[in-house]
Amino acid sequence: MEWLIFGLLAVWLLASVFGTLFFKNPVHVILSFLSVILAVAGMFLHLGAELLAGLQLIIYAVAIIVFYVLVITTIPWEKIKKFEGIYKKEALIAFPFFAFSFGAISYMVLKGNFQVSNKVPAENNIVSVGKTLFTNYLFPFEVASVILLTAMIGAIILGRKEE
């Protein structure tokens, strides 16, 4: 049963990744990236990370995708259509390197000695993540808010009209 769910999610993910890489139209690329996000959220649910699956849906599928689509609507469509598709020669040259590195890393993962712990979590996922986040990782959490503030100021300065 676990392998059936894994197979379905993996086939869905692979199909949408190929769509993201090879579609011509940027709107089609963004829609297939939305499909990738939904598949990854399903994988998070299957791995038992419910909080992260919800956050993936809220942050990626709502905020980031809508932001991409808004940016595409602000730019004239002819300018977007002028450069589309992929560099074919670079793709042909780069593909063997990526196939080799995928094979090498997969070999190391499969040969490595991973011992899966069968420790059942004592409380539910959201409670344990929240406890660890607000005790051991409180300072990185505050630093993340500073990063978001800096990004907001930077985006405002970049998006401003030049006088």
């Binding site: 692979l14 956050l55 793709a91 990526f98 997969s106 993962v109 993540v129 990063i147 978001l148």
Partner: protein, 100 residues
């Protein structure tokens, strides 16, 4: 081979295909989408390693990766709009220097 190892293989595939997309895409917006693919692959690797180890620290790091992804997409799309506004549209092969 357990199911966690299979998920780690999927995450490696997702990361490498994002890198491949960064190399081969022509359009700047689709290039940014490929970096998001790489970030998703890293998140999936964190969560499946977390299942192997049996803790929650990987999920917390994945949360920070989500935060940085939101910041990165705001700044990156701001840069893309600024490039469109300054010089008309340029493909990713024509932006070879950081100034006019």
């Amino acid at each position: 081979m357990t199911i966690e190892l299979a998920y780690i293989l999927i995450s490696i595939f997702l990361f490498l295909s994002g890198l491949f997309g960064v190399i081969i895409r022509k359009n700047l917006i689709t290039l940014l989408v490929s970096t998001e693919l790489m970030l998703n692959g890293v998140n999936l690797g964190f969560v499946s390693m977390d299942r192997i180890v049996g803790g929650v620290e990987g999920q917390i790091f994945a949360l920070f990766v989500l935060t940085v992804a939101a910041a990165e997409v705001a700044v990156g799309l701001g840069l893309v709009v600024a490039i469109f506004r300054l010089r008309g549209y340029e493909g990713s092969s024509e932006i070879t220097q950081l100034r006019d």
